[in-house]
Symmetry: C2
Subunit: 123 residues, 2 copies
DNA sequence: GGGGGTGGTTTCCCCCGGGATACCACCCAA
DNA sequence: TTGGGTGGTATCCCGGGGGAAACCACCCCC
């Protein structure tokens, strides 16, 4: 059984807009990481991504779908719902994404220090 | 002796804005690749990046400098000039950048096909 | 038939990245 | 003294990304 996504999954994570390495739009990298373990529903994604408004999350998912990285499946039946999952192409992106995450994890402090020093020097 | 940067260095390369993986702003990844072989002058960078206006290139370089990825050195003397070079932190980014470039090189066509199929299906 | 859950859409607004164009100070060589 | 190279700025403008808030259709269950 897949674990539900924890609400504080990205609390410690820097906002994407501060990271010089970006995959897709502002939230795409976090979406991809949410889908790493398997398919997720829209409302399921909204738990860790509570700071993302539904409009923006929809657009991000549509963009990933357009690029062939994510597949959107509508399950009809008694309790109809929608599931998003990574395609093989999307999975292939996990490798460079992991490389980027590793770099960020290793050098994030260094980068923030550089920014602070630059801002202090230049006012 | 370092080779001068060829003017057509990025003619075959997809514009950064189409690539889902981005390092820094629109042109930062190309700037970093220009600095891979060693220090470069502003006017030297403008050769392969002829489509980038000086304002935008300056801002991109300033941003990289602020993040501690690039060092800007003013050489005073008889013929004063400015040189930009990668810092160790900037060099450390070459690895995830290479991973991202490899992914793009391998899957770019696939991604474009997915986009075309999506756009054709949805109008 | 009312409430809750699902999966969004619509509208409005703001800001920032990016492009075009023009201009600029400094220095050197002719 | 005039021109060219260097390394940029200044100004204007536009489009799109992103956020806030409200609303919505559909379905099931009580």
């Amino acid at each position: 059984m897949r674990e539900p996504l924890p609400a504080d999954m990205f609390d410690e994570l820097c906002p994407s807009s501060l990271n010089p390495i970006r995959f897709g739009d502002k939230w795409a990298a976090l979406v991809i990481r949410c889908l790493e373990q398997g398919p997720r529903r829209f409302s399921e994604l909204r738990v860790p991504l509570s700071r993302v408004t539904p409009k923006v999350l929809t657009r991000s998912l549509r963009s990933l779908e357009r690029d062939g990285l994510v597949r959107r499946t509508v399950h009809v039946g008694a309790a109809p719902h929608v599931e998003y999952e990574l395609t093989p192409l999307g999975r292939s992106m996990l490798q460079p994404l992991a490389a980027a995450c590793a770099w960020t994890a290793e050098h994030w402090d260094e980068l923030l220090d550089a920014r602070e020093a630059y801002d202090n020097a230049a006012g």
